[in-house]
Amino acid sequence: MTHKLISAVAALMVVTAAAPAMAQKSEGTVRTAFSAPMEGLDWYHGPGNERHLTSHALFDTLIVADENTGKFVPLLAKSFKRVDNVTTEFVLQEGVKWHDGEAFDADDVVATIKFLTDPKTRIRFKRFYAWVKSVEKTGSHTVRIVSKRPTASDLATLAFVTWIYPEHAFARLANKKDFQWKPVGTGPYKLAKGNTKVADLVQNTTYRHGGSGKPATNVKRILISAIPDSATQTAQMLTGRLDYIRSSVDHGKSLAANTKFGLTVKQGVSVIYMGIDAKGRSGNKPLTDVRVRRALQMGINRKELVLVTTGDPNFERVPKAMCWDNQAGCGYSAKLPEYDPVAAKKLLAEAGYADGFEVEITAFATSDASRSSAEVIASQWAKIGVKAKIDPRTITSYRKKQRDGKIQVCICPYGGGGFLSDIAGMISFIYAPPKSRDYHGDETLKKMSRATSSIMDPAKRRAAAQKVFDLAQNQGYFMPLAPSPAVLVHDKDLVIKSGGLSTPYGLSVNQLSWKE
């Protein structure tokens, strides 16, 4: 009876929703919602997953990874070549216009790189650009970027996280953060209206340079609303006010049971991982013992986590290390510990914690995969005598707690820092963090990580990275737990291209299109 009533209400909602959804399709508009607060649209000043999407829509990079092959292909650059081990030359496209009509040229590239490497610049992932020694304009449409030393991930950095900003509109801004709401780019969409509640992106009709890496689609307008509450997003979806949402697995499956909606699950490089305070910053002493950390790892049944994060216990793309096999530089030989609560208890007893201990798990409140994984782990650890409480935090609050050194165990999502086909983001973020985010304190690991980045030979880089990943795994600093796919519920007429590279957000604007 209850189900019949719910079905009837849902059916009524969907019927009333059909008309507006049809209208959106005919106008080529896609409406969606962000769960995270909209504090700006550019990635440099707030490197979140959602801003990766908006930056990708508004701006372009010099090169881009081809969605199908993963190889770097030109975008704003017409061509590029390595002059030597530390120098790369880019010939830029001519005739590209900024959203305000100004012409794009080498000055814009120089100004952007100089901003990113300027000691006065304060952005979260500034270390991604620490390898740049200089950038020089060699012609109106040619630039050279010189590295301090050979850097294996230089092209990946330029392809994934180096959006070019206009010299005339950005470099002259006294407060660079103002650009967050006044973006001028060369990307396929330009901002018509933007504030903390809504971002209205309209198609850039002069966009011709996307090529195979970033082709334009038939979506003429993307309307993004800030709706932090997932239940409200679901209600908006049911009543036809949104065309797609990112959802939890359970929600996604329930919504997609309706024939009006489709479900697309895209697994990219995002994972749910466990980080442990091995350094003892939080004051939880047992965690500083490697045997305890290993025991905690052995107390986790990852199969259950995969079920919770993907809805499919046989999900094919499951992480085996803190990098993915298809990422450049990914190497590992250490195997993740098998679930063995008996051995875990034994190890805890050996470490002097036969009766277990208390621990606090910090999770991301805005990530269902993170929160759900934390809940499952808390239950699993109870079987080895470890009593866990969960502290779900918003991203801002999480970062403060992280800086304050209060995180004991983190069950967090990580999207590879935006690097889709290279380990550079993971190496930098996880193994060589700045002091405020350093919870392992292992100087050897940091040294090895830094060394990895300057090895140009792919095989040798992979071998060096293997030592880094193995050391971190064996010491129990980090452990990948489960994939964290983007579960996208969408209007059945909205096509979300599956396969290819999946961004931290789950999709790029050029992967969206309406059925013709």
Binding site: M1, T2, H3, I6, A10, S230, A231, T234, A235, L238, S248, D250, H251, S254, L255, E304, L307, V308, A365, D368, S372, E375, V376, A378, S379, A382, A388, K389, I390, D391, P392
Partner: protein, 311 residues
């Protein structure tokens, strides 16, 4: 001498009642209360429901069919028994982690009712002491008490508790203390004015005249006359404390998961409310019924113990 006179008067009264056929023995205050209680439907309904909930909460480990934290991911989101797919193994179904919802509700009651009762009790102790001191001593003591009450009343209660819980964490003890801090002023204000009225009564003057100490007067003469007010306020504050605990937990600032409280259950159920509405309906209705029942019981106690001021 005095004893002899009293005995003589009592003997005379007994003799009069024996001989006077129209003499009716007046009911004692307890008898009067018993009669009023017997006829008060709200008191019985509310009290019975509260008593059952309290017993279930106290004996939760014995009554609950499953461990409230034990997950069974193969039995996720099993609907409640009244649904076509429901089973009696899990009468209220299971949540997204396969945890038995009835067991979580029962153990959640232990937390929610425990916080409600303890915080209201601590607030009662603090507020009553301050109220009686202000009302009895007057002067500077009263000025200090009223200053504290005014300071407390000027604070936005819920916002302050949100801030306090955010700073000190959402443990059981912190929640009890924060909610106690939120409620003590109601007792202080009410009991201060009642104490002032009682202090002016003849029996207090008589106690002072025979040289009774202040402590004895407060504890033996005044406090017993305040108890019905204390109990009435206590019951109302318990209901309010349960609602605020649910609010804080719903906002993610109260009891931390996976420990169940009714607020935590509502928060968790909200995510599923379109497709598995029982997850939010069951704890929501429980909170509603308990709050109503406690209010009915409190109202009943008020009617039974001091009906004179009642319309």
């Amino acid at each position: 001498m005095a004893t002899d006179q009293t005995s003589t008067a009592a003997a005379a009264a007994t003799a009069a009642s024996d001989t006077d056929p129209f003499h009716v023995e007046p009911p004692t205050p307890w008898q009067l209360m018993g009669r009023r209680a017997g006829a008060h439907m709200g008191f019985w309904i509310g009290g019975t429901f509260v008593l059952i909930c309290a017993l279930v909460a106290i004996f939760a480990p014995v009554i609950a069919p499953f461990d409230p934290l034990a997950q069974d991911l193969t039995r996720r989101l099993v609907p409640p028994v009244w649904d076509e797919k429901g089973t009696w193994t899990h009468p209220f179904g299971t949540d997204k982690f396969g945890r038995d919802y009835l067991s979580r509700l029962i153990h959640g009651g232990q937390i929610s009712l425990g916080i409600g009762f303890l915080s209201a009790l601590i607030a009662a102790v603090i507020g009553s002491i301050l109220g009686m001191m202000g009302g009895y001593f007057g002067g500077r003591v009263d000025a200090v008490v009223m200053y504290l009450v005014n300071a407390k009343l000027s604070l936005p209660g819920l916002l302050v508790s949100l801030a306090l819980v955010a700073v000190f964490g959402g443990s059981f003890i912190v929640l009890v203390l924060v909610l106690a801090f939120l409620f003590w002023d109601n007792y202080a204000v009410a009991l201060r004015s009642v104490t002032m009225q009682i202090r002016a009564q003849d029996f207090v003057a008589a106690a002072e005249a025979i040289g009774a100490s202040r402590r004895r007067i407060i504890l033996s003469e005044i406090l017993p006359n305040l108890m019905n007010q204390v109990i009435v306020i206590l019951t109302l504050e318990i209901a309010l404390a349960i609602l605020i605990e649910a609010t804080l937990s719903f906002l993610g600032l109260g009891i931390k998961p996976p420990t169940p409280s009714w607020g935590v259950l509502v928060a968790e159920g909200r995510e599923q409310m379109f497709f598995n509405p029982y997850l939010i309906t069951i704890p929501g209705v429980t909170i509603f019924l308990v709050a109503i029942a406690i209010n009915m019981m409190g109202d009943g106690i008020r009617d039974i113990t001091a009906p004179e001021g009642r319309n």
